[in-house]
Symmetry: C2
DNA sequence: TCTTATACCGGTATTAGTATCACGTCCATG
DNA sequence: CATGGACGTGATACTAATACCGGTATAAGA
């Protein structure tokens, strides 16, 4: 295999990142924040719901800027994710 | 077109990001830094040379961690890139 | 000279991010 | 009830990131 598929840990980290961004968005609409960050609302939705677990650096940077978040804080919070919840870690994988 | 191809500005920004990382790497070898960041040396090389202009967020975060860089500083430096050098901006594009 | 290490480059393979479209749900408002 | 907005989900299209391979170049050392 050439490009390693995302590990469950990476997916969990992406889910965490999505939650962070969603919390920071607060009451603002997805469309508004997405427009402010210069990305599509669909992409923001995928990131927030964890369906795009490893978005591009500049995408996250633009979102952090639009949401008033510090990138280092975001990265630190995501780096805390070091294990996958058992409910989310199927034994078959 | 569905996924917008990278604009010349995005490529220029990626080139800038690569230079930042290379400077921060200093005398250390690519293999060493790549291993410290948990990525392949090939990927690090592509990022440093600007051939992968929009790397994943966690990839940059891991590199910044391995290099002792602050993500906000990196993003801010890259955000300064708002125009493409004329030599690099073909009129045909 | 030969070997080794480092880095650059091209190609190739595979997965993932980004964007658009369509449809469905929920909720508030008319 | 109808309508619209916001969010969710799935499919589809296309580009890009990541990784591995082989080849090349250069510099240092035996």
């Amino acid at each position: 295999m050439v490009r390693t598929p995302l590990t469950p840990l990476e997916r969990e980290r992406g889910r965490h990142l999505g939650l962070l961004l969603r919390q920071a968005r607060g009451e603002r609409s997805m469309a508004e924040v997405a427009a402010a960050a210069g990305i599509s609302a669909e992409t923001l939705r995928k990131i927030e719901t964890g369906r795009a677990p490893t978005p591009a650096f500049f995408t996250v940077a633009a979102l952090a800027g639009a949401l008033g978040l510090a990138l280092d804080q975001v990265a630190a919070r995501c780096a805390e994710i070091t294990e996958v919840p058992e409910e989310e870690a199927p034994a078959a994988a």
